[in-house]
Structure formats: structure tokens, C-alpha cells
């Protein structure tokens, strides 16, 4: 690798919103890659029977379990909205200076708002902290 010309170091740039969201897209994607284990575990637990399901529920319902699931929800929603933004950009729309920042901001605020909304809905359905 040595001796080849390299592109300018990324660290010298001020972080624009689009760059931050590009990195966030990759980070949330990686988190979901690992987090899919939880989805597999949940399905296997249900298929295995009440005892295995109770173990899953105990872990998922714990303080740390809920924190991880909250993070998983945000990563999922963020990656989905970010993905939609990329699909729009694939059609060569929304790439003008003001537009691309709008999309990057919408990804962040939209994902945070939607995650909180989903969890409020979940708590409303289960009737509080301890269901």
C-alpha cells in the first residue's frame, strides 16, 4: 500500500451533516447486523416453548435489555430512513446544496422522533414500565 497517492485525509474536514449521516448509516447498519441475533433468538425462543420464551422475556425486559432494544429500534429506524434518503439520491433528486442537508437532518430528527413515538406506543399498550 505504501507509496501510493492517497485521497485527502478525512480528518482535516469539518464534519458536514451529510458526512455524519453517512457514517451513522454504516454504524447503524453494523449494529443491526449484530442485533439481528436478537431477532433470531426471539423467534427460536418462541418456537422452543414457554421456558425458553420466559428466559428471553426476562433478559429483554431487564433494564439493560430495554436499553439495547431501544438502541436497536433507533438503529433500525435510522437505517431505514437513511436508506430511503439514499434511494432518493440514487434517482438524482435531492442533491442540491440545501436539499441534501435537509435530507440528512430529516434522517436524524425523523429517526429520533419515530423511535420515541414507537416506545411511547409500546408503553401505552403494555400499560407502563412493568407489564
Amino acid at each position: 500500500m505504501a507509496g501510493r497517492p492517497l485521497s485527502p485525509h478525512l480528518t482535516i474536514y469539518r464534519w458536514p451533516m451529510t458526512m455524519a449521516m453517512s457514517i451513522a448509516h454504516r454504524v447503524t447498519g453494523s449494529a443491526l447486523y449484530v442485533g439481528t441475533l436478537l431477532l433470531a433468538w426471539w423467534l427460536i425462543a418462541v418456537a422452543s416453548g414457554p421456558t425458553a420464551y420466559a428466559t428471553f422475556q426476562m433478559v429483554a425486559g431487564s433494564w439493560i435489555g430495554r436499553l439495547v432494544l431501544f438502541g436497536y429500534t433507533w438503529a433500525l429506524v435510522h437505517h431505514m430512513i437513511g436508506g430511503i434518503r439514499h434511494l432518493v439520491w440514487d434517482t438524482v433528486h435531492g442533491l442540491e446544496p440545501g436539499e441534501r442537508d435537509w435530507w440528512a437532518r430529516a434522517t436524524l430528527f425523523g429517526s429520533v422522533a419515530l423511535t420515541i413515538l414507537l416506545w411511547l406506543l409500546a408503553y401505552f399498550i403494555t400499560g407502563g414500565l412493568r407489564s
Binding site: 500500500m1 454504516r26 447498519g29 453494523s30 443491526l32 447486523y33 439481528t36 441475533l37 431477532l39 433470531a40 423467534l43 427460536i44 418462541v46 418456537a47 416453548g49 414457554p50 420464551y53 420466559a54 433500525l76 431505514m80 436508506g83 430511503i84 439514499h86 434511494l87 440514487d90 414507537l118 406506543l121 409500546a122 399498550i125 403494555t126 400499560g127 407489564s131
Partner: protein
């Protein structure tokens, strides 16, 4: 010794017409993931607060099972392609890179088979 000209090779072989396969499937699965993820979230929310018997019964219903199977198929393929890009971006040592790319496939296939098996087991009983 081949009698084919370089032009003929480029036209018919190599990455020709399949070079964008990776890019294309990442988009294909991305588009599929959007409605499937929304459906998945709706399913999970509708299961909140239910006991094991009710959860198992709902997951076993054909429509829910089919949606979940499509979801797991689409996301595991999306995961495989996405993680491969990340590996290729950051791992430059050839042997390690190949090992990680293989591990990536093992991981997503295991996730797919385990999840699909669980869903089918619930649907077909026993």
C-alpha cells in the same frame, strides 16, 4: 493459447453485465426491506404484552409467517452485501479479508436458517 481478441473477451466474459450485481441487489433488498420492516414493527407491537401461547399462535398464522420469512430473507441478504462492503473497505490483508468474507456468509446463512426454521416450526407445529 486463446484466439479471442481482448475486445471479444470484454464483451462476453468477466464482469461484463454482472459488475453491478452487488449494487443492484443492495438496492433490491433495500426497497424490499422498507415495507417488510414496517410490517415487522407492526407485528412486534401487536404482540406486546401477550403470553407465550398467544405469541406462538399469532406467529404461526400464514400471513404473519410469510411476511416474517420474506423479512428475514431480505434482511440477511442485505446484511451479507453490506458487511462485505465494510470488510472490503477496511481489511486490506488478503487472507484475513477472504476469511472474514467467508465468516460473513456463514453468519448470515446461520441467522437465516435459524429464524426460518423457528417460523416454520411454529407454523407446521410439533
Amino acid at each position: 493459447m486463446t484466439m479471442r481478441t481482448p475486445l471479444a473477451r470484454v464483451r462476453g466474459l468477466g464482469a461484463s453485465r454482472t459488475g453491478t450485481d452487488h449494487f443492484w441487489w443492495q438496492r433490491m433488498t433495500a426497497v424490499a426491506n422498507v415495507p417488510l420492516t414496517i410490517a415487522g414493527i407492526v407485528i412486534v407491537i401487536s404482540l406486546l404484552g401477550r403470553n407465550h401461547a398467544a405469541t406462538a399462535q399469532i406467529l404461526a398464522s400464514p400471513l404473519i409467517a410469510i411476511i416474517l420469512l420474506l423479512f428475514i430473507l431480505s434482511i440477511t441478504n442485505h446484511m451479507r452485501i453490506g458487511m462485505q462492503v465494510i470488510i472490503e473497505d477496511y481489511v486490506h490483508e488478503e487472507k484475513l479479508k477472504i476469511a472474514l468474507i467467508m465468516l460473513n456468509v456463514f453468519y448470515v446463512v446461520a441467522i437465516f436458517i435459524a429464524s426460518a426454521f423457528a417460523i416454520l416450526k411454529l407454523s407446521f407445529g410439533v
